[in-house]
């Protein structure tokens, strides 16, 4: 195995990882605060991708306006999250978690078909913004600029999230909500608003990552179901509800997948699911989470 091959696999794994981190961080936040596994998170991601494509068509059929489109998609998906939380999901708080799981699954079914209805079943794609469409040579490998951009934006968002959770008033309330809802009530904080805020922010992140994925992956029906399982794995590895855990979980997942393919072609899928099961068995709260 040559050094440049290792480096190129490493970079590939890192790109995957940072994408997954963008997606999974929202999933993990919602789990940490609301104790809900949101299957629809993958659907929000998919809608982000389709909406970004749609916005690009509107703004400039020639293929510009990428950043505008990405922000539009993220905001629109965030709004959708607000509607879902305010008008539906909130009525299931306090019910059995089975009902909450099934609610989010119902959204997967509905949003998946809605996307097929609106955008058809063909593959769609968006070209990378001109600024990032080239590539550079690093250690004898060719790295697309866009991948490098993703590798930078992932940790940036992680740092931003960590800072917001630890150094702002809202962040403190969110952390209090993670630990004890009743305590938060006693503090006089409005739990309902925090829940809505978390859900919307998580949907926003999903929409943003969906938009950002469009230059390197084609937009197809079914991308929602594929991504959500991967995001679950990442969150489980790092620890459900733990922000940095999700970050490192993404890195581990990305690299295991990337090098797994190299060493045992075909069996990498198997290895990540085994990794997920082993972690749930040995440390259900994940590598970086805390026991409940």
């Amino acid at each position: 195995m040559s050094g440049s091959l290792v480096f190129s696999q490493f970079m590939g794994g890192l790109t995957t990882a940072m994408f997954l981190f963008l997606i999974a961080s929202g999933l993990s936040l919602v789990f940490g605060v609301m104790r809900v596994i949101n299957f629809a998170h993958g659907s929000f991601y998919m809608l982000g991708a389709y909406l970004a494509w749609q916005a690009v068509q509107w703004v400039q059929p020639s293929g510009g306006g990428f950043w505008l489109a990405a922000i539009f998609a993220a905001v629109a998906v965030g709004l959708l999250g607000a509607v879902v939380e305010r008008f539906l999901f909130r009525y299931l708080y306090g019910r059995d978690e089975l009902y909450q799981l099934l609610f989010t699954y119902a959204l997967v079914l509905i949003l998946g078909d809605a996307a097929k209805f609106l955008w058809g079943v063909g593959q769609l794609s968006v070209s990378a913004p001109p600024l990032l469409s080239g590539s550079v040579q690093i250690l004898g490998t060719t790295q697309p600029l866009y991948s490098l951009f993703i590798v930078v934006i992932g940790p940036a968002i992680a740092f931003f999230g960590w800072y917001a959770l630890n150094h702002t008033g809202v962040g403190r309330m969110v952390r209090a909500a993670q630990m004890d809802r009743e305590m938060l009530d006693a503090l006089g904080a409005n739990v309902g608003t925090i829940y809505t805020g978390m859900f919307v922010f998580s949907a926003f992140l999903a929409g943003l990552s969906g938009a950002l994925v469009t230059p390197i992956e084609s937009i197809v029906p079914g991308m929602d179901v594929l991504i959500i399982v991967q995001a679950f794995i990442v969150v489980v590895i790092g620890g459900m509800g733990s922000f940095w855990g999700t970050f490192w979980g993404s890195v581990i997942y990305g690299e295991v997948l990337s090098f797994g393919i190299l060493i045992f072609p075909g069996f990498s899928l198997f290895s990540v699911f085994v990794l997920m099961a082993v972690i749930l068995i040995v440390r259900p709260w994940g590598l970086f989470g805390k026991p409940l």
């Binding site: 099934l102 809605a114 179901v225 489980v236 069996f267 899928l269 198997f270 699911f273 749930l280 259900p284």
Partner: protein
């Protein structure tokens, strides 16, 4: 305290005090209860190959197999209170074991079928051993992980499972003897397999029903209602959860074995996690608090799917909408709704009859 305490008195005379549950139902209503519904449904289902079209038999076979699958899941969901998001793994193991034994090794159905159940139960024992150590959402996630491991194996292990090609063209069991039965001379092999599946499912459901009503089943309901208290009755909660998991896995395996033959092949798609969600929807749609809820849900779902796909390709959209309505309006499912409606009619009727309320 509404009941006065009999502090001084001795222990009550044995018997005589407890009314049987049946006696609690008002005398006027039992007509509905006296009809042997299960026998009636079985007979109606058995006439489908003669009275219905080939397509009807196809749907009926699907309903029957799904009913067993959903009932096996409900042993976990409704009886034990375990939310498994990977139940399809055991269905899949059963389908592959039976399919591979019959196709690759030419093993007869009489052996391959029970082997499928045993294989699935064995896998449930191994995976369940780890799953029941976790609670709630973590349990759900680990069952999901195991089912995806099974999926990955089925999808990639070409030499045994056929990989993405699956195991096609599984032979039908030898059912030639049925043709010599009176009135059965014209039955196609599909019809005959349907009748076999119907009988096997009926027997399986009878066994599960018996298990649910057994002392073991009663203990499972205490584990569902309040595991902490159950432990303090002297119940080893995890052991019972595991036992339930194994039984449920075994019956799911039997359903999978039938399904593989019915659909003429076993494919990795059968084991994808979203199938686990579908079977949960069946159980909830019918009503997971009732033994006959999941079969009703299976029938409703298969029929709806068939009726709707004639009009639109957007079946998942319809399914999602049904699920939303269920969650928000009818959490008790179809059977739960019927029972509630029936009780309402009963109450209104009684009020009319009773002069005090007139």
């Amino acid at each position: 305290m509404t009941t006065e305490l009999r502090t001084g008195e001795a222990v009550a005379p044995a018997g005589g005090i407890v009314r049987s549950p049946a006696a609690a139902v008002p005398l006027r209503t039992p007509l509905v209860r006296r009809i042997p519904w299960t026998l009636l449904v079985f007979i109606v289902m058995a006439t489908v190959p003669w009275l219905g079209s080939r397509y009807d038999t196809f749907l009926a076979a699907q309903i029957v197999i799904d009913a067993l699958f959903a009932v096996s899941l409900n042993l976990l969901l409704g009886t034990t209170g375990l939310v498994s998001f990977g139940h399809v793994a055991y269905f899949g193991v059963g389908a592959y074991v039976c399919g591979i034994l019959m196709k690759t090794y030419g093993v007869p159905f009489v052996i391959a079928f029970p082997a499928a159940g045993l294989g699935a139960a064995l896998f449930a024992l191994v995976s369940g051993y780890f799953c029941v150590r976790l609670i709630k959402l973590y349990f759900a996630m680990l069952t999901l992980a195991f089912s995806q491991i099974v999926w990955a194996i089925c999808y990639k292990w070409n030499s045994v499972t056929g990989g993405d090609q699956g195991v096609p063209e599984i032979p039908y069991p030898h059912l030639h003897w049925m043709l010599s039965l009176p009135g059965c001379g014209d039955l196609s092999i599909g019809d005959r397999f349907y009748l076999l599946a119907l009988v096997l499912v009926a027997v399986s459901l009878a066994v599960v029903h018996r298990i649910v009503r057994s002392p073991f089943g009663r203990v499972l309901t205490t584990v569902r209602d309040n595991p902490e208290r159950a432990a303090f009755l002297g119940i080893n909660v995890r052991a019972y959860q595991l036992a339930s998991f194994v039984v449920a896995g075994g019956f799911a395996g039997l359903a999978g074995a039938l399904y593989g033959i019915f659909s003429r092949g076993v494919f990795a798609d059968y084991v994808f996690w979203s199938k686990s969600a579908e079977v949960i929807i069946m159980a909830i749609l019918g009503g997971m608090e009732f033994f006959w809820g999941p079969p009703v849900g299976a029938a409703a779902l298969v029929w709806l799917n068939q009726a709707i796909t004639d009009y639109t390709q957007y079946w998942p959209f319809v399914l999602g909408t049904i699920l939303l309505i269920l969650l928000f309006v009818f959490p008790g499912g179809i059977v739960g709704g019927l029972v509630a409606g029936f009780r309402l009619i009963q109450r209104v009727g009684r009020r009319r009859l009773s002069p005090r309320h007139a």
